[in-house]
Point group: C2
Chain length 402, copies 2
């Protein structure tokens, strides 16, 4: 089998961790598998480099920042190759350029355009362990680019797709994907399998196991992912097209997102296009909007509320205020004291009663529901932020512990 393995920055942060990861790689290789390994920069390397840059230039160009940051992964793969050499294993490290990872021109958050696999295949055919820098590639000008947050996961999935790998293993500091955050909900269970769509909903709701871009890419190319721990040797969670449901339950997991704020546009004119103009102003400020509700007012105005990331709230408010006359509303209010709690599950669409079970759990726990939104595989409620952990525990109890 050809297996792609990805290890993050904390997994290679010092010599001990590098040796420990090398043993995982060696074990896989010595079972007879071909192994391609994707590594991130060591622990704090990226932050240290950013601090050096900030000393010289508060606002450096993305091109030069990428030139600087890509050295971090290059050091990781070289050090890992040396460690594997010391174990008498054949290893070769490759930068994104050498591995044929071609991206678009956008610095800082480039997208992979294609992978020229010739060199990779040649090294695999020589029965070498191939170590590839995550997070980076080169654009058509042969300039170094980086893929943005979680970019090493994306690199791993892209290589698995291009090489038609049999498996793509994402090693992290958790043992897999859980029905809820196991640090908060002791009864949370590790899922054996989960669908891409469920994983996407959980990730965007704050379960930071895999970045969405890598899951989207895996879904598009049908790459089966496995999320597992680099500390504990145990099966992780498989992310794939179809999953076995957990027992007879219709839902897969529960997530909360505390990075949220609700903005209310009070007394918005009840005229065609008013809501569009308001939301368009927010979008032009680069702010994503979630969960929009509109309540009819007593006169010819409505109150419209929507949810944005807390960090974006002030920017969204400013954008609306600037176009107040063109949009036509009375005033704005913002509530940064909210959280979103969601249940996710592909089985939900063919079932009824999931929503009512969720509402029942929140009602039993005396938690007020401020907003509700549903999709085919997700139901989200906005509640008071201080009640978020209690809400997750209550919902988890209702679905998984009764």
């Amino acid at each position: 089998m050809l297996i792609v393995q990805k290890f993050g920055g904390s997994s290679v942060k010092d010599a001990d961790r590098i040796r420990s990861v090398a043993r995982i790689i060696a074990e896989t290789f010595l079972l007879g598998h071909d192994v391609v390994v994707v590594l991130s920069a060591q622990g704090d390397t990226t932050d240290d480099l950013l601090a050096k840059a900030a000393e010289l230039n508060r606002n450096p160009s993305m091109r030069e920042l990428d030139m600087l940051l890509t050295t971090g992964e290059q050091q990781s793969v070289a050090l890992m190759a040396m460690c594997l050499e010391s174990m008498d294993l054949p290893a070769v490290s490759l930068t994104g350029w050498q591995a044929g990872i071609r991206t678009d021109a956008a610095g800082g958050a480039a997208r992979i355009r294609r992978v020229d696999t010739e060199r990779l295949r040649r090294e695999i055919d020589k029965r070498r362990i191939v170590l590839v820098t995550g997070f980076q590639g080169v654009n058509k000008y042969d300039d170094y680019t980086t893929l943005g947050r979680g970019g090493s996961d994306t690199t791993a999935v892209a290589l698995a797709a291009a090489l038609h790998a049999d498996r793509c293993q994402i090693y992290t500091d958790v043992e897999g994907v859980y029905t809820a955050d196991p640090r908060k909900v002791p009864a949370a269970r590790k899922l054996e399998e989960i669908t891409y769509d469920e994983m996407l909903e959980l990730a965007s709701m704050g379960a930071q196991v895999l970045m969405n871009r890598s899951v989207e890419l895996a879904k598009r190319y049908g790459v089966e992912l496995e999320v597992l721990s680099s500390y504990v040797r145990a099966p992780g969670t498989k992310v794939k097209e179809d999953s076995k449901p957990v027992e007879e339950m219709k839902i897969t997991g529960i997530a909360k997102d505390e990075n949220a704020a609700r903005i209310t546009v009070a007394r918005l004119q009840d005229k065609p296009g008013a809501a569009f103009r308001a939301l368009n102003a927010v979008a032009r400020a680069g702010v994503n909007v979630d969960m929009i509700i509109q309540a009819s007012g007593r006169d010819d105005t409505n109150d419209m509320s929507f949810v944005v990331a807390e960090a974006d709230a002030d920017r969204a408010m400013a954008a609306l205020e600037e176009r107040k006359a063109a949009i036509g509303f009375d005033h704005l209010t913002a509530d940064k004291n909210i959280a979103k709690v969601s249940v996710v599950g592909a089985g939900m669409m063919s079932s009824v009663g999931v929503a009512s079970l969720m509402f029942e759990a929140l009602t039993d726990a005396h938690i007020n529901i401020q907003m509700i939104s549903t999709s085919e595989i997700k139901i989200s409620c906005v509640i008071e932020r201080s009640a978020a952990d209690r809400a997750v525990a209550a919902i988890h109890g209702k679905f998984f512990e009764s």
Copy 2:
């Protein structure tokens, strides 16, 4: 004019030094010149990376070591580019690969095969300051290689040759090349000009201003070098094919080399090939030999002495001892308490009396001459090591201060 400027690791060791070097670059650029800058890794970066490697593998492959070490210069050029950007100057950093520096396959001490200047010329034509990583290139497999000690000087000279630059400035922590080491001989004078051959003789005699490989390359391609200080803004020393002699003096400089040991092969058989076999044994041990003298003995044997680097003395002794029977000698002695003192000057060959003036200086100072060797532009004497500084001062006094 197109000017290549090279700055070493101590010149870019922190943000303050980077800013200070950026001002030198900016000044040159704003005078209207095209500027290509070659940088080494920051201060201790290379040592830090070597320490990290040693934790994992005492004997890593050269390929992976080069992969690791080349990140140092990449960080330097990116940081310098950001610093220049902050001064509103157009700058672009390039790795050895991006700059088209193609080397042979030998890791750790590769030689530059050619420079594909297309990208460099394109960036220069855009009126950008081009920052190139010193010390590194890529081989025909697209693997990263390093050029060995002093490799950044070699990079600068190779770029100057390939781009037909008008000047190649090597910035160091000294103000130029002196008639003797100015820390030891207060009356030492900075030379305005020196020939390639004189520079080569001075460098190999321990005046560590420029590595020999870069001077050889400059001579071969007729690149005029200038050695100058990155701390003090003053003209340095030009290294070129012909130089003006210092006043009417026939010599350019005086150097000492304390890294020397004399090995004596006692009672070597006076038969054809005996000396050859002895020296061949030493050569096969990878040891360079200098200044050979043979003294006739009273019987059918000779004593042969030669000078090697002190660090190589034990290896040379062992190689001789191992082939003692085949070579035919009685015993070996080594004297590690010696130094070589040399006067260098292209004018010497057309003149007499330089040697006698040197011997007179040493005799006046009561310093015993143990061995003498002469070349067209150099006279070297072996003396007791403790007298070396006194010898240099005495010779300097005789030639330059009378």
